[in-house]
């Protein structure tokens, strides 16, 4: 998932992860993500990884970095699996 998301972001948002923009970088602050990009990214995650964003404070205080989003999706998947 991490690699797929990484490629998706690089392609969509026209940048490459490197020494300046790492997987831990806040993509808002780096100027990579805007509101349209954010909403598109959330739609992509929901469609590809079977989670729903925006419920139960899912994104409260989550930093919008590649690593932060991966953690978020994994946690959401575990929660979904646990509730089955």
């Amino acid at each position: 998932m991490q690699q797929e998301l990484r490629s998706y972001m690089e392609e969509q948002f026209m940048f490459e992860f490197d020494s300046e923009i790492t997987e831990d970088t806040d993509l808002f602050k780096a100027g990579v993500l805007d509101s349209f990009g954010y909403v598109s990214l959330m739609a992509h995650i929901e469609q590809h990884y079977g989670v729903r964003i925006g419920e139960e404070g899912l994104l409260d205080n989550v930093r919008v970095s590649l690593s932060g989003i991966v953690e978020l999706v994994e946690a959401a998947r575990e929660r979904t699996a646990g509730s089955r």
């Binding site: 026209m14 602050k29 805007d34 509101s35 349209f36 954010y38 598109s40 739609a43 989550v62």
Partner: protein, 661 residues
Amino acid sequence: MCGIAGFYRSALPPLEYPDLIHGMLAQIEHRGPDEAGCFLDDRLAMGTVRLSIIDLSTGSQPIGSPDGRYWLCYNGELYNYRELRDDLTARGFVFRTESDTEVVLAAWATWGHDCLPRFNGAFAFAVYDSVSGELHLVRDRFGKRPLFVARHGGAWLFASEMKAFLAYPGFRFEFDEQQLSSVFATWTPLPGQSGYRGIEQIPMGEYLSVRGDEVRRGRWATLDLTPGPAPRSEQEAVELVRAELEAAVDVRLRSDVEVGVFASGGLDSSIIAHLAAQRTDGQLRTFSVEFEDVEFDESAEQNELAARLGTRHSTVRVADSDIVEAFPDAVRHAEVPVFRTAFVPMYLLARHVRDEGVKVVLSGEGADEAFLGYGIFKDTRLLAEWHTLDNDARLSRLSRVYPYLRHLSGEDGHRRMLGLYQQFTEESLPGLFSHQMRFQNGRFAVRLLRNAGDPFAAARQLVAQEPGYAELSPVHKAQWLEFRTLLSGYLLSTQGERMTLAHGVENRCPFLDPAVLRRAASLNLRFGDPDDEKYLLKRAYEDVLPERIVKKGKFPYRAPDSAAFVRSRPDYRDILTDPGTLDDIGVLDTRFVRRFTDRVFEGPPERIGTKENQAFVLLASTVWLHHWYVRGLARRDAPLGVPLHVVDRRGSALSARTESV
């Protein structure tokens, strides 16, 4: 309306002043093609190109006080000049003309800087005290009229438009990368910025006084958003709004030539058209832009308004290719980087108005700032209250904020926006809480620049230095920022008077009457649903305007951006990525510019969002600004089309006159 230009304490010999001032005025002749005049002495040359609106026969400039001490070059209209004239007459002043210009001069001679708060108008002027040698440069309270100042070789240059500086020997334009970074991120030049090194704007409501080496700067008007007492009832509030707007339109119809109205089809300009139609003998003329692209077109509303009010309506129909073809000329007049193309149709509309023989138009500009019409004000309230709301309440509020933005609409869209808004509930840019989301989106365009630095440093400094700003409510801070950035830095300038005066048409904004703003401040958020924008304006005029206009909701005036270029001029891809040009511009990140331009021209249109469109227009306008200003090709070599009337007080002229006696 007019344009002014001049220079002070030049190292060049006074013998050259007539040719120099002639050259500078010729660059801005479009602002005032009816007459030209200048004042010269051994320290100063300044002049005016005049568009005759009031007192067509005797309102010529420059104008001097009866004792010959004060000289004025004036660009603007003083709407309350009759009242001030009566006041000054009662004090014994004898007027020689019927013009508002003479009233400005008499007020200055009588009260000095203290005359300024008495002025209700749109103006920028230079007034010179020939006894003390002091030059004062002054700008109106909202920045409706421009005034740029540059230092060059010890001289002070000043002009309504920067292009006048092209005629001053040795003057060169050079991009200021830090200012470009701020403009790209925040959409507009901040009040003192020009985008070029060594050129500043006199900020709105301020003056600059120079005498020898002594420089004084001061502010004569602050933006007071403090609410006064609330009316007792909604009905009283409605009546107050009507009375204030009627008075504001009344004084703006003072003109010796016909006054028309820009009618966009939106609520604000429809109100102005209604009030003007009531007050116009004969048939009011209304003017609109129609778009071939239905996404942007409001002609149905415009036509219904014209039919309801019985105006003589005419339009300019704008296609993609019209925007792209007029873009270079419109940028030449804008003079600063631009973040959307909506100014270009206004350039075309102003040309049409001029061709129709109308010199003055009223517009609805300022209503959204005064009466909190923009979504950003709702956003700010929501974000400020975020932590007190549950998710259902947040969702409900979100769905009402931007119903017109497709990508943010729909149930899933609003749910996903919860996470987006969450990102902006804390103030990470000190003082800029309300605008963080907008500015965040601007970071993308900053990537076009090679060395952007901190794009928000200037905006943070602007609010940090503003007395009393920190104590304002979040919505008032948002309002203050809108007045100081988007309104003056784009709507009134690039999309406003720079486009209309490119064709010698003057625009007037009744919603920006100081009394209207004071009234609005006392009424905002006190009646009706706070998420129903401009609630009181709708209540006040729902009986006289077409229902579809009142009920439509906020529909921002916009035009096709990058899509217009992609669809009609694919060769722009080469223009924007030409290696020689990019190297010459210097400040752009060549690699990112190429990658970005390829994305715009190759990618599917649905992938091009707001930030890409803004970056595209900023890039295209920067490329053209480089052509016109940095390379200097905007310079016009043709002489003035009208004779230059010269008041010559240079020592050489005086001695020549003495010798001939």
